[in-house]
């Protein structure tokens, strides 16, 4: 299955999670999304918000990989 990508390095809170959340809403369960985050707020909050929403999350460097639940 093709992995979707999203670059939110130019965004600030809460648009970082809003944009990621809307992208996830358009995906099918089990589909993966790789989100490129800026250091700091986005890299701290996006994985936390995604996990709180019940998605599977893995962080490697600036990339947050989220598998839609």
């Amino acid at each position: 299955m093709a992995v979707r990508t999203l670059d939110i390095t130019a965004l600030t809170c809460p648009m970082t999670w809003v944009r990621t959340k809307l992208e996830l809403e358009r995906m099918a369960p089990g589909e993966a999304l790789e989100v490129r985050c800026a250091e700091g707020e986005a890299l701290e909050n996006v994985p936390r918000s995604a996990a709180a929403a019940g998605h599977e999350v893995r962080v490697s460097g600036p990339i947050v990989r989220i598998v839609r639940r």
Partner: protein, 272 residues
Amino acid sequence: MSSDRRAFFRTLASAARDVAQPAAPDVEAPDAVGPWLDRYSRQLVLPEWSEAAQRTLAAASVLVVGAGALGSPVATYLAGAGVGRLGIVDDGDVELSNLHRQHLHFTPDLGVPKARSAVAKLAYLNPEIVIEPYQAAFGAAMVEGHDLVVDCTDSFTARYAVNAACCAARVPLVEAGVVGMSGLVMAIRPGETACYRCAFPAPPADAASCAEAGVLGPAAGVVGSLQALEALKLLAGLPALTDAFLQVDLAGLDFLRVAVRRRPQCPDCSAA
């Protein structure tokens, strides 16, 4: 119209034009964060809300009956939330005694029809939606074609008329009333859940309107805000205050949810 008031509306109208944005959502562009996304971001971010809910709201048509103490918060929140088409019904003019609780009307609006005064502010708040004034008394035919009606009238007679019209047309409805320091709110899906007449088959003998009994502005604001909340829930398909009403006592700060059942013999909804 005094020149002060003309200037006031001129300023308001030109300011609304200045902030007008293209209505087309640009969320399709992968990395763009447009005004649409920005305007609704604080509700889109909620786990309970979604792009689908936002689009449902944008496609919805809602009739707000009454542009007074309840209609002010209701219309303000529905316009702000992005309901695509709002109709505002009121056949009265703005009076000095309205201003303490009807926050869509300002002192320069005295004497202006309330429907028009309300629409001027709402267009300023959200120029991306369509808002239509109905400067007339409520008529049953008005509910046709709407996805939801919010009853912000101030008497049992008027509320029964709106309830009966919504039941006949099977249009979902949010009822509310406020007097003094207390009020109630009720969400209704005609034909599925208890209607206002099921909950209150006859008006209480000592029913007073807020014109006689008075009301504190924030008390009406709380009840109207709850009404707007229930309207958004009904539109988005979220669980709402149906088959029950919420009794709100703002003196003691007590909220009581009272269960209500449909009445098989209800003159308003039994045929719905």
